[in-house]
């Protein structure tokens, strides 16, 4: 199979709401447990160390009609919450044994409660991430939180999880993160060789399979990409901001790139690039994960970043990536993204940097308006700035 054919296959897997890779894994591991991970960041390492399969739960991507979930969650709520619940109510997530939601927003939090009530056979946990990064007590508290997650998995799996197992998992996920960063490096330096659309598919498929299977896929992909012969193109370099939770339709990424944008950096699938360095592979593994979360993570709209400055990091990213502008693509009804938009665009206006803002939904099917906006944006940057 060529690299391009492989990408098509991964895209098919991503778009299949019956979770074929999970089914296959369950068949091979009849007693194995599956842990669903709601975005943005979740400690996959712990589920892996328990011998379980952690699986990214990113909604239905517009592949199912919201029918049953309508009676549980109102229409003014983001698509990912509604479509994730729809998957559950249609019994498409019945292979999941444990579900983890995280303290990213009020919707994700309450979704965990709805899930708990509606699916009593699945173990549900809402993870509280520290929001007071300046407090030494945050580290102790978050480590205790991770310990509770380990206990939960031990109860679900019926066996102890050793520190050594967690350290080994940390090492594997460090490797996966290193390779994902390499993929990003390629698309940043030579977007004509690897588009964001392709990078996304390559990384997203990794949320649906064991990390041991994804690492060789990334390695072989990086080798194949290196052999691609494609002429450089003229692009307007942008960063994409706001798409950290609900996933934009793949078509939307294509439209932006076809309109002449090269996405030098973005916040898609942020968990694979969450840490700015490697998580230590020795010593106390839970302490290492806790410290990494507090000291070495990227900024995001779904966590308070103080005492560090998110705005300073945002501007630093723009400078380092040498971009011409910023595209804010926020999911409809997503408060963290929509509220931050105002603050970030203010900074851009002060610095005289071009930007474009629009909203999307996972189920949208018509992109002409966004294409026109993106083309106009590209032209205005190319010819007038």
């Amino acid at each position: 199979m060529t690299f391009e054919e492989q990408l098509e296959e991964y895209q098919r897997i991503i778009g299949d709401v019956s979770f074929p890779t999970v089914k296959k894994w369950k068949e091979a591991h009849p007693a194995g447990k599956v842990v669903g991970m709601f975005p943005v960041y979740t400690p996959y390492e712990l589920a892996h160390a328990a011998g379980m399969l952690p699986v990214g739960l990113y909604g239905a991507g517009g592949m199912v009609e919201i029918d049953h979930a309508d009676s549980r969650i109102q229409s003014f709520v983001c698509s990912i919450a509604r479509s994730t619940l729809e998957l559950g109510l249609r019994e498409l997530t019945k292979d999941f044994d444990v579900l983890w939601f995280t303290s990213i927003c009020d919707v994700a939090r309450n979704l965990s409660g709805v899930w708990e009530t509606n699916f009593p056979k699945q173990a549900v946990r809402y993870i509280h991430y520290p929001q007071n990064m300046g407090s030494p007590a945050a580290r102790t508290h978050y480590r205790a939180e991770l310990r509770e997650l380990v206990t939960m998995l031990e109860d679900a799996g019926g066996r102890k999880i050793t520190d050594d197992a967690i350290r080994k998992s940390i090492a594997l996920y460090n490797e996966q993160r290193r390779l994902c960063a390499e993929v990003y490096e390629i698309k940043r330096n030579a977007p004509w060789i690897l588009s964001t659309y392709e990078a996304y598919v390559l990384i997203r498929v990794g949320t649906l399979m064991p990390v041991e299977d994804h690492i060789p896929i990334l390695r072989s992909a990086i080798a194949s990409i290196g052999e691609r012969k494609r002429p450089p193109r003229d692009f307007v370099r942008v960063i994409l901001e706001g798409s950290f939770c609900e996933q934009p339709p793949l078509e939307l990424l294509k439209v932006l790139e076809e309109s002449g944008c090269a996405i030098a950096d973005d916040d898609l699938l942020l968990h694979t690039r969450w840490f700015t360095g490697e998580v230590p592979e020795d010593g106390d593994p839970l302490g290492a994960l806790a410290s990494a979360y507090i000291d070495t993570t990227r900024y995001s709209s779904v966590r308070h970043y103080g005492p560090r400055s998110r705005k300073a990091e945002f501007l630093k990213k723009i400078r380092e990536q040498n971009v011409d502008g910023v595209i804010f693509a926020a999911p409809k009804f997503c408060e963290p993204a929509l509220l931050d938009y105002v603050l970030f665009k203010d900074e851009l206006e002060k610095a005289g940097i071009a930007y474009l803002g629009f909203e999307y939904e996972e189920k949208m099917g018509v992109f002409e308006s966004i294409r026109t906006q993106a083309e106009t944006f590209v032209e205005s940057v190319m010819f007038f700035s």
Partner: protein
């Protein structure tokens, strides 16, 4: 003796709660307006999880942005302020309280009562369940260019108060002391904290008596439409002696109503538990829609957003910081959805309610996401008639009067019919 004279003798305390509260709140806004003139320092914080007792040790004046927002709603000025915020890029789909507050700031920061509001010296984000609180204070930190300090309150995921959670909050409060001392120039005084916490406890005792009074038939007061006003002092003035004094006086009004068997409506026909914040810009209209059917609210969740005392918790002068931490953890906004559902079900039982009414607001996903599921639980599992209606707490554009009236009429008509059939 004429009837008028008899009534005057019978009802000596009616209106006390309202009048005294007006006086106290005006005094509070006066103090805020003059704070900058005599160098008093100002802390902004939220009502849920408000650590007023702790901040009062340093004599901070306190500003609660969501109280300003709700009062703008009541005074029907929130619509214009929300538009001002939307003009600078805020989406129509984000929290109306946030937009109201930003709009008010852009318009010169004159509060709902006409008082000029001071700028913050300390922005203390008491993150107590609502994640939008963080985004809100990040915006204020951006516009005021003031550093933001977090008080991170872990979410209650089970009914148990966790030691780790309590220790985390008390540690954060202790870490906050040097900053408060630096801003105000006043030393932390443990005895003063104990005294303030003692005042809170006294006020809480009476407030709970008031809430429990709604168990009477007829209920002497409406535990939603009236409670949201009676609760103001315990949320914004808690820890001050005048707050305790307020509840002593206001309780006389309630006791008098019990003595004479009167309530907020001429005849109590239906007792309901209400979940969700009120539609502040159309508060009166919403109440009238329910009064028409003889509906009295006997318990509500919104009156517990800034503290949940009616099942036993009190601030404790012997464990001041620890009890402040427990207070933060147990505010209604910090309870998990299954805990909230269970609490409302218990209220229906304890207060002999006939139905549950859910007012779902678009602005506040913290409240509203999952309410449709709650309704399903109440009706399907516990057979409690439940009505869910939608509008907003701040944005007048989402209040569809005709539609709301139709749904309310249909619900209470069918409830009445059911009773007739059963009789």
């Amino acid at each position: 003796m004429d009837q008028h004279h008899t009534d005057e003798q019978k009802f000596r305390f009616q209106g006390t709660g309202r009048d005294l509260q007006k006086k106290l709140l005006t005094g509070w806004y006066d103090r805020l307006e003059s704070a900058a003139d005599d160098g008093r320092k100002v802390a902004y914080l939220f009502v849920p999880g408000n650590v007023a007792e702790f901040l009062r040790v340093f004599d901070f004046e306190l500003v609660f942005p969501e109280v300003n927002a709700l009062q703008c709603g009541v005074r029907k000025i929130s619509g214009d302020l929300i538009l001002k915020a939307e003009d600078i890029g805020y989406s129509p789909d984000v929290c109306g309280y946030v937009k109201n507050d930003i709009g008010m700031m852009l318009a010169g920061n004159t509060g709902p009562s006409g008082h000029k509001l001071p700028k913050p010296d300390l922005l203390l984000c008491t993150y107590c369940g609502c994640t939008t609180f963080i985004k809100w204070f990040e915006a204020l930190a951006h516009f005021y260019d003031v550093p933001l300090v977090m008080l991170d309150v872990p979410y209650m995921r089970s009914g148990e108060l966790g030691k780790d959670d309590r220790d985390y909050i008390t540690a954060q409060l202790k870490e906050l002391i040097p900053l408060c001392e630096k801003i105000t120039g006043k030393k932390f005084d443990h005895d003063k904290l104990k005294t303030i916490v003692g005042h809170s406890r006294e006020a809480e005792e009476i407030w709970v008596q008031m809430l429990h009074a709604a168990k009477h038939r007829p209920s002497p007061f409406d535990a939603y439409f009236e409670a949201v006003f009676f609760m103001a002092p315990i949320y914004v003035l808690r820890g001050l002696p005048e707050c305790t004094g307020y509840y002593r006086e206001a309780m006389k009004e309630i006791d008098e109503r019990i003595e004479h068997g009167v309530g907020p409506i001429p005849e109590e026909k239906v007792r309901v538990v209400i979940e969700g914040p009120p539609p502040w810009p159309h508060f009166r209209a919403f109440w009238e829609m329910l009064k028409k059917w003889g509906v009295c609210s006997v318990a509500s969740s919104y009156s517990k957003v800034g503290g949940f005392w009616d099942h036993g918790f009190r601030h404790d002068p012997d464990r001041p910081l620890e009890s402040i931490a427990e207070y933060c953890l147990t505010c209604y906004t910090n309870l998990s959805l299954p805990m909230r559902t269970d609490l409302l079900r218990k209220y229906a039982e304890e207060y002999s309610a006939d139905a549950i009414l859910i007012h779902s607001v678009k602005s506040c996903r913290s409240f509203s996401v999952g309410q449709a599921d709650m309704r399903d639980q109440f009706t399907r599992v516990w057979d409690i008639p439940t009505l869910l209606v939608e509008s907003d707490l701040a944005d007048p554009r989402y209040f569809q009067a005709a539609q709301l009236r139709n749904r309310i009429d249909a619900f209470f008509e069918s409830l009445e019919h059911k009773r007739l059939v059963q009789a």
